[in-house]
């Protein structure tokens, strides 16, 4: 089977090259036969890559430990389900998975546009398959998951298999970790589609807003997957790593955040181009930047150029990646420069207080945030280049910059959508923001009187309240007018309102999600923790809870030994939960893992970790964190998913008994 995989990859590489060349010729000479060849090539590439993935999965399910990747990432006792997902647990396999996603997207885009966009498509194929050429080359020459262990037996190289594999990293044996990588990869790879259309637009000179309209959904889907992927990564870190937090500004985390920041900027600024024909170069740059940062993120997590705690293997793919990124940057900048005249704005900014400016400041902040995160992440590399010494910055540095930027952006989520295009009068500002502003000041004073003194937390809660008020008012106002006109009750009216303008109201729901997530983040300002020693039968108090230790014990199964502490959690004399923090020792990998116990409420999380035991072994040492409002982060994530789905679905068109002529008219309006 390893040989079969090798043959597939060896065949895939020239096939991608062939397809890229035919796509180029199809674009240049407008030859229909070449275009057909490029399209069929794209489908064929997808089939071959799919077979390669299936071959690797078969190897893992069989437990063929002569395969180096299978040996390194699975073992016999591993449950079958984990054998399947081990595909993206290791370096070489996850790279093949990356390749498979991009070939799937390429095939999907080709199919979607089979009767459309004839001019753009050859270059779209060229760009997407060009990227695939690079990843296929990596898979074939540098990170080949079909490599086998060979032994020289009587002068003949023969495959040998170990009795058992080394097993899947226990930290990865968790549901969130199973879906986090594919979701993040889909987000990463999704950035290729808008990029490919942008490059095609530049090459063909069809620079109107058509490429933007074609890729709007792709950009949003990619953005949604990136958002969810990042949040799931945080969730995994929180429940699995046992240090009480979900985000630590580690380079690998930052790598996922970077394309998200630019892609968030893009989904906003694109509205200005659609509406006013402005910021064409800017949007082009954001699309290209997002793609480059997605590639860069993959590079950063695998090249080992900056030290990260994450267990990604460092590998030899660094220089190849660097070369690819530099090539993509130079080509993109060259193309934009070549088309600079056609990319000039059709209109100009009129007022500092307008929808356009709101978007502009939003973009400025997102780009500054991107630069800050990139700078901080690469600071060891930058400082070494200039001083010869590596200097690192950590979470306090990132928080110093990102909290103010985050709060400014949060404020804009409330203010921006209510500003009028072109310019906004003082009168309308007072009308839109007067009441919420006064109410927010009251809330601010209230929180201060109740003893909240943390400046950033006060700011964050106040702004959150302000933004929520504004968004809810928008919903209510729209619904009230509608319910009066259509004689619907207010809830139906609100639902209908949303369905009839999903982009606007779905956007508001995403903004609500952002507010909720920010409230969750802000809870971290009030985290407290304690360390306690407790024996069977003992108890202690912390943060208004009583912890009773029922048993400190251990158990074993085939896979691991567990040392656990059974706790009962009481609040106001009533039992609220059973908690079982534990440490596991996996036999195959000889690796211990921490099993965190969390009691989660809307108000706070009680997060319990066993950190060791006393010298006589009788007392368990527990670290307990009280993390307020963490659940809001996960709750906000769910709202964000709902909002993103809403934005993606087309507006609902009401079927009313109208004269035929009017109906046609209405339909035209929607299309316009």
């Amino acid at each position: 089977m390893s040989e079969f995989g090798h043959i597939l990859l060896t065949f895939l590489f020239p096939l991608t090259l062939f397809t890229a060349v035919t796509a180029f010729l199809a674009g240049r000479n407008h030859r229909e036969s070449m275009y057909q060849a490029a399209r069929n090539g794209t489908y064929a590439i997808w089939i071959v890559t799919t077979l390669a993935i299936l071959a690797l999965e078969a190897l893992m399910l069989q437990g063929d430990f002569s395969n180096a990747f299978v040996y390194g990432n699975t073992n016999r006792a591993l449950p079958g389900f984990y054998k399947i997902v081990a595909l993206w647990a290791g370096h070489d396999g996850s790279l093949l998975f990356w390749t498979w996603i991009i070939t799937s997207f390429s095939a999907l885009v080709v199919y979607q546009n089979r009767n459309k966009n004839r001019e753009l498509m050859p270059y779209v194929i060229l760009t997407m398959i060009g990227t695939t050429v690079f990843f296929t080359a990596l898979n074939l020459f540098i990170a080949n998951p079909f490599d086998t262990w060979m032994q020289n037996i009587n002068g003949v190289m023969t495959p040998v298999a170990a009795a058992d594999g080394r097993g899947l990293n226990p930290l990865l044996q968790h549901p969130a970790m199973i879906i986090h990588p594919p979701i993040l990869y889909i987000g990463y790879v999704g950035t290729v589609v808008p990029f490919a259309f942008a490059i095609a637009a530049l090459l063909t000179g069809r620079l109107g807003s058509s490429w933007i309209k074609i890729t709007r959904r792709w950009a949003l889907v990619s953005w949604g997957f990136l958002s969810v992927g990042i949040l799931l990564g945080g969730k995994w870190a929180y429940v699995e790593l046992g240090w009480g937090g979900y985000w630590a500004w580690d380079p690998v985390e930052n790598a996922s955040l970077l394309p998200w920041l630019t892609s968030t900027a893009y989904v906003h600024s694109v509205m200005i181009q659609e509406r006013k024909g402005m910021l064409k170069v800017w949007n082009m740059s954001l699309v290209i930047g997002t793609y480059l940062l997605a590639i860069f993120g993959t590079f950063l997590t695998r090249s080992g150029i900056v030290s990260s705690v994450h267990a990604f293997a460092e590998s030899g793919i660094g220089p190849a990646f660097a070369a690819f990124i530099v090539f993509a940057i130079i080509t993109s900048i060259g193309l934009i420069f070549w088309r600079r005249k056609e990319l000039s704005s059709e209109e100009h900014f009129e007022s500092l207080v307008s929808r356009e400016s709101g978007f502009m400041f939003n973009n400025l902040l997102f780009v500054l945030a991107t630069i800050a995160v990139l700078w901080g992440t690469l600071f060891p590399v930058i400082s070494e280049a200039f001083t010869g010494e590596q200097i690192t910055v950590g979470p306090p540095w990132f928080n110093t910059i990102m909290i103010p930027i985050g709060l400014a952006l949060l404020l804009l989520t409330g203010v921006g959508p209510l500003l009028a295009w072109r310019r906004t009068s003082i009168e309308s500002l007072r009308k839109s923001f007067g009441y919420p502003f006064i109410a927010s000041v009251v809330v601010l004073l209230g929180m201060f009187f109740f003893g909240i003194r943390d400046g950033w937390a006060l700011g964050s809660f106040t702004i959150s309240f302000f933004v929520l008020w504004i968004i809810v008012a928008e919903f209510l106002q729209g619904a009230r007018i509608r319910s009066k006109n259509a004689q619907e009750n207010i809830l139906t009216a609100m639902a209908m309102l949303t369905m009839k303008n999903t982009r606007r109201y779905g956007g508001y729901i995403i903004h609500i999600a952002v507010v909720v997530i920010f409230m969750g983040f802000t809870g971290a300002a009030f985290n407290t923790e304690t360390r306690q020693e407790v024996a069977t039968g003992g108890s202690f108090n912390f943060a208004g809870y009583t912890f009773k230790c029922i048993e400190k014990g251990h158990s074993t199964n085939d896979n691991f030994r567990t040392d656990f502490v059974d706790l009962q959690l009481f609040k106001d004399g009533r039992k609220v939960d059973d908690l079982r923090p534990a440490k596991r020792m996996y036999f195959a990998s000889k690796q211990p893992t921490t099993e965190v116990a969390i009691y989660s409420t809307l108000r706070e999380d009680i997060y319990v970790v066993t950190v060791g035991e006393s010298e006589d072994g009788k007392m368990a040492i527990l670290q307990i964190y009280r993390n307020p409002l963490v659940m809001w982060v996960w709750l906000g994530s769910l709202i964000l998913i709902v909002g993103t789905i809403l934005v993606l679905i087309p507006n609902y068109r009401e079927k009313k008994r109208k004269p035929a002529a009017q109906q046609t008219h209405a339909r035209h309006e929607v299309h316009a």
Binding site: S2, E3, H6, A68, G72, G90, H91, N144, F146, D147, T148, W149, M150, Q151, M157, A162, L171, G242, W243, G244, V309, H310, A311, F349, E350, S351, L352, F361, L364, L368, A372, W375, E389, Q390, I391, T392, V393, G394, P395, P396, W397, F398, N399, T400, I401, E529, R531, S589, K590, Q591, P592, T593, T594, V609, V611, G612, S614, E615, I621, Q623
Partner: protein, 142 residues
């Protein structure tokens, strides 16, 4: 409002925001930075090693880990030179850090005058886990 006036307003607005972010970056840097060094590099820093926060990378020396309750002492090694580390932090130590495993360790903290490193944070990853070392055989592609 004239066109020129408008432009100036925009430039001033953008300028203020950029200046603010740069100022934050600089002030943040004063609060939080560390020299990233290997064990041998720390010893070549001379007296500077005691003046700055450091992050030191080395391999955990097997068998040197001494745990007393939540007290923790161990040694790390790099290119033959070792460094004593005393953990003074409050976070639970990572799972990848234990006495039986070869782990690459990064400790953050300061070097004390007695040349014991006072670590506030320990990061560890198992260095050998994903590397190929299947004894007696060589890895080769077909």
């Amino acid at each position: 409002m004239s066109g020129k006036n408008k432009k100036i307003k925009f430039i001033v607005g953008i300028g203020i925001i950029i200046t603010a972010v740069v100022a934050l970056a600089l002030s943040g840097f004063k609060k939080d930075y560390a020299y990233f060094k290997t064990v041998t590099e720390v010893y070549t820093m001379g007296s500077r090693a005691y003046d700055h926060p450091l992050k030191v990378k080395g391999d955990l020396v097997k068998g040197t880990v001494v745990k007393k309750g939540s007290e923790l002492n161990f040694q790390i090694i790099e290119s033959g030179q070792t460094m004593d580390v005393h953990y003074i932090g409050t976070d639970p130590i990572p799972d990848t850090f234990n006495n039986d495993m070869e782990a690459e360790v990064v400790v953050s903290g300061r070097l004390a005058a007695d040349n014991v490193f006072k670590a506030e944070r320990i990061q560890a990853k198992c260095a050998s886990k994903y590397e190929a070392d299947y004894s007696g055989n060589t890895q080769a592609s077909l």
